[in-house]
């Protein structure tokens, strides 16, 4: 059996097995009270799947490895894939190229690890600059530009991704309308 250990999260000392019962125990090294909940994955034996299955006549071959037998088609591009090329995420089989493309274009939600909140940038531009309101002449168009330019990049991972964009856009339009009204008043007053 593979030796697996659980270390104290404070002192990194290995915890004795009798302390791993889901109750609070004192770490023998640092005297911190610590509780460890173990799950079956802790003892799971990692099985290595055989990826080498040579091509037999009459069978389809992998698109990327012509000498290997295809086991599944890519569900995005339809290419046949061997066990090595098949990447399964959330029950969907894809080839590495489709996966990389999806990750780059942020189309695969499960692969997205970072997201820039342009809606918050637009909101900050429209709200914070109200304290120094003359600046809104520059920041309101900038916020409107961000809302339109990055509308398609709103968060697809977490809920409520478009609310910020809508609010920022409305605020920017309101500020621009205010400026337009001010300009109108100025020109009208100057003419009369």
């Amino acid at each position: 059996m593979m030796v697996r250990e659980v270390a104290c999260t404070s002192c990194r000392a290995t915890l004795p097995p009798d302390l791993l019962d889901g109750a609070f125990h004192m770490c023998p090294a640092c005297l911190n009270w610590i509780r460890v909940h173990l799950f079956p994955a802790f003892n799971r034996q990692e099985s290595v799947q055989a990826t080498e299955s040579p091509l037999v006549e009459g069978q389809s071959s992998c698109f990327y490895h012509p000498h290997k037998t295809a086991v599944v088609p890519c569900e995005s591009c339809g290419r046949f894939l061997c066990a090595l090329c098949d990447i399964e995420i959330g029950g969907v089989h894809r080839c590495p190229r489709c996966l990389e493309s999806g990750r780059r274009k942020q189309q695969l939600q499960t692969l997205q690890t970072e997201h820039i909140r342009y809606d918050r940038i637009a909101l900050a531009l429209t709200t914070i600059t109200l304290l120094i309101w003359p600046f809104t002449l520059i920041t309101a168009p900038a916020a409107l530009f961000i809302v339109i330019r990055y509308w398609k990049r709103r968060s697809k991972v977490l809920p409520g991704g478009s609310v910020g964009y809508v609010v920022a856009g409305l605020l920017a339009v309101a500020e621009l309308s205010g400026w337009a009204f001010l300009f109108y008043l100025g020109i009208h007053g100057w003419r009369t």
């Binding site: 290995t14 173990l38 799950f39 079956p40 990692e46 977490l158």
Partner: protein
């Protein structure tokens, strides 16, 4: 290449299971449940979100470690409330002091009501990550209670699976979990005798003596004993700072470690705060008794010897004496308390000579 057609399985609906929690100056984090995985979302600086996913079938362990932050927080706010109360009782009540005492007491109560604090970590085969939003034992228990059935659903029955693992003996489920780790695994940590930190001994000794001296000074005031008190106070702060530096490198008892921080912070902040408050009280009193005199443009803080003549300073000395006695006694107990401190390094492999 054509755009990927996003499958319905890619569209995961996340449900927030723990709200926003501050993990840095501008960083917040939140925990979401999304079908077969947990999503840890870090909001960096407010404009960037970073995601970490923990699949339920991959979670090996959840580790909860109790911390003393709740007691520290409650003690700190309680101390400030006590200081404001002492100032209010010895001078005169006003609205500002009432509000300050109220706010400090509210924060103290908040720490006590929310219960013991903790740090929670989640372990998978490749990483151990902190869950910074799970900071209180009670809340953590509640959330783990919701998560365990889901993990069990993803990984199978926890007790049965671990019992079935090779090397495990089928006994009670708790023991089974422990045995399942491996009977040959996890050598217990090597205990090392705790070395005595003389800086801590001197600091707590000076604190204890200054506390006794303060109580003596209240009952038998004299210039000599007050000078001695000031010297001991200054000495305890200076050695306390040295001990702070030292304990960063050397392993000392956790209690002594925490108390040195409490001592230095409360002494420095307390002394500064009391001097400030008494100086302000002095200025207001002078303005009241001498209305024709102009308020000073530069605030000259009272010296320690001027402070001694202020009304109500005896109460400050009393409270300082009690606090210092408590701190010094506890500190000395912790310093001399026997306990394991350091793990010995593993033995070097034996050299093989050809």
């Amino acid at each position: 290449m054509a755009d990927l057609d996003t499958k319905p399985s890619d569209q995961i609906r996340y449900q927030r299971i723990r709200g926003l929690w501050r993990t840095g100056t501008l960083n917040l984090s939140s925990l979401f449940m999304g079908g077969d995985h947990l999503l840890l979302c870090d909001y960096r600086g407010g404009f960037t979100e970073r995601y970490k996913r923990f699949y339920l079938s991959d979670i090996q362990a959840i580790i909860v470690r109790r911390t003393m932050h709740w007691l520290g927080g409650a003690a700190t706010w309680g101390f400030f409330a006590f200081c404001f109360l002492v100032i209010a009782l010895t001078t005169h009540w006003n609205r500002f002091l009432e509000i300050m005492v109220g706010i400090c007491l509210l924060f103290t109560l908040r720490h006590l009501v929310r219960g013991p604090s903790c740090r929670t970590h989640i372990r998978t085969a490749v990483q151990i990550d902190a869950l910074p939003m799970l900071k209180r034992v009670r809340k953590t228990n509640r959330i783990l209670g919701r998560l365990f059935p889901l993990i069990e659903q993803a990984q199978g029955n926890i007790a049965e699976n671990i019992a079935a693992a090779p090397g495990a003996s089928p006994s009670s489920s708790r023991n089974v979990i422990a045995m399942g780790v491996s009977t040959a695994a996890a050598p217990s940590p090597v205990m090392a005798r705790q070395e005595l930190s003389w800086f801590h001994v001197f600091t707590f000794g000076a604190v204890l003596l200054s506390g006794l001296n303060a109580v003596w000074e209240v009952n038998y005031p004299s210039l000599t004993s007050y000078s001695l008190l000031l010297a001991l106070f200054g000495l305890s702060v200076v050695i306390g700072i040295v001990a702070l530096v030292r304990q960063a490198r050397h392993h000392v008892h956790r209690g002594a470690f925490a108390l040195i921080w409490v001592q230095v912070i409360t002494f420095v902040l307390g002394a500064g705060g009391i001097d400030y408050v008494f100086t302000m009280v002095n200025i207001f009193n002078r303005a009241r008794t001498e209305p024709q005199s102009r308020p000073p443009t530069i605030v000259n803080f009272l010296s320690p010897f001027q402070l001694r003549h202020m009304t109500g300073f005896d109460a400050v000395l009393w409270s300082y004496g009690v606090w210092a006695l408590l701190l010094g006694l506890l500190g000395l107990i912790f310093v001399f308390m026997p306990g394991p401190a350091k793990r010995n390094p593993p033995p070097l492999p034996a050299e093989t000579h050809p």
